[in-house]
Amino acid sequence: MAKRAAPEVNAGSMADIAFLLLIFFLVTTTIEKDSGINRKLPPIEETEPPIIKQKNIFTVLVNKNDDLLVEDEPMEIKDLRQAAIEFLDNNGDGSCAFCKGAKDPKSSDNPDKAIISLKNDRETSYAAYISVQNELVAAYNNLRNRRALEIGASKGFPKMNFIEMQALHKDVRWNGNKKKLKDLIDQIKLEIPQKLSEVVE
């Protein structure tokens, strides 16, 4: 007996159904932005702030027209990163073995003592503020990357900068020695601490 073929299902409206679903998802979802600059706010405390030498403070001021005043000199945002690196890397008292700075006695003593102070106006735009924050974080990252490349090889993580080390440490698929890497990251963080203070009126 001849086998009868099953009747064919009309799939002409399949595209319409799929389009409907597609449009639903296009409307109700967003491509989420989930990255940014992490910061830790200082807790409110009544203790007197410690006295810091003026030469260890790098003041950055952003006024209401989004102009920069760095160490009492006007500056363009593109020059800020280099200026901050020079300040942090200065090594005025010679106690920092890995610094390559100018050893200017009028600038910071060492990266541990150097503090960047950021002050903004109420009318400063958020875009300008983020740009400044970004450049200052970039200065720290630049120095940390350099340090990571220097000492990484002896600790078993050669040819890797600080950012890559952090990314690797967060990567759950990586099954290397997490503890060793964490120690190395903490050591670099300790050598070049991010001391970024913000002025609140």
């Binding site: 932005k33 706010l41 200082p42 807790p43 735009s125 958020y126 740009s131 970004n134 990252n141």
Partner: protein, 159 residues
């Protein structure tokens, strides 16, 4: 009767659309995988600034969002200066503390110290309102914050 002669050839063959559903499904799956459902309906303009020294927001830890920006066209009655939006509605600076308290109440106790506050602030907003919110966050001891930004060169921020 030659008027009614059927045209046999010369007409184009119909385009085969059998693969159309496949293509659309492919797009559909792409969007389903690459996007997430909207959490809040924004009543404000929210175009984020860009930065290049960014870290990923750790989604393993709880995240609360605070939006700031100018009210969008439909909400002109709310004014033209930057406002705070919490959940689905405008809020004043004073409401930030209770918002954080409510977010914490919804969390398991051991996760509370890891709560990160993501600040999604419009690039044209003033720092005044952001500073006020930061001060409120300090008061309630929510110290982990993240300035959520896009990825790009900072020189494009100032245009």
């Amino acid at each position: 009767m030659s008027k009614f002669k059927k045209k046999k050839d010369g007409g184009l063959a119909p385009i085969n659309t059998a693969s159309l559903p496949d293509i659309v499904f492919m797009l559909l799956f792409f969007f389903m995988v690459a996007t997430v459902m909207r959490e809040d309906t924004l009543k404000i303009k929210n175009s984020l600034p860009v930065a290049d020294q960014i870290e990923k927001l750790d989604k393993k830890n709880p995240v609360s969002y605070i939006y700031m920006g100018k009210p969008s066209e439909n909400y002109r009655s709310a004014g033209t200066v930057a406002r705070i939006q919490l959940n689905d509605d405008f809020a004043s600076v004073g409401e930030v503390a209770s918002f954080i308290a409510a977010e914490r109440a919804a969390l398991r106790e051991e996760l509370i110290p890891f709560l990160t506050v993501s600040l999604k602030v419009d690039r044209d907003a003033n720092m005044g309102i952001v500073g006020d919110v930061k001060q409120e966050l300090r008061k309630v001891n929510a110290l982990k914050i993240n300035y959520t930004t896009g990825t790009g060169d900072v020189s494009t921020n100032m245009e």
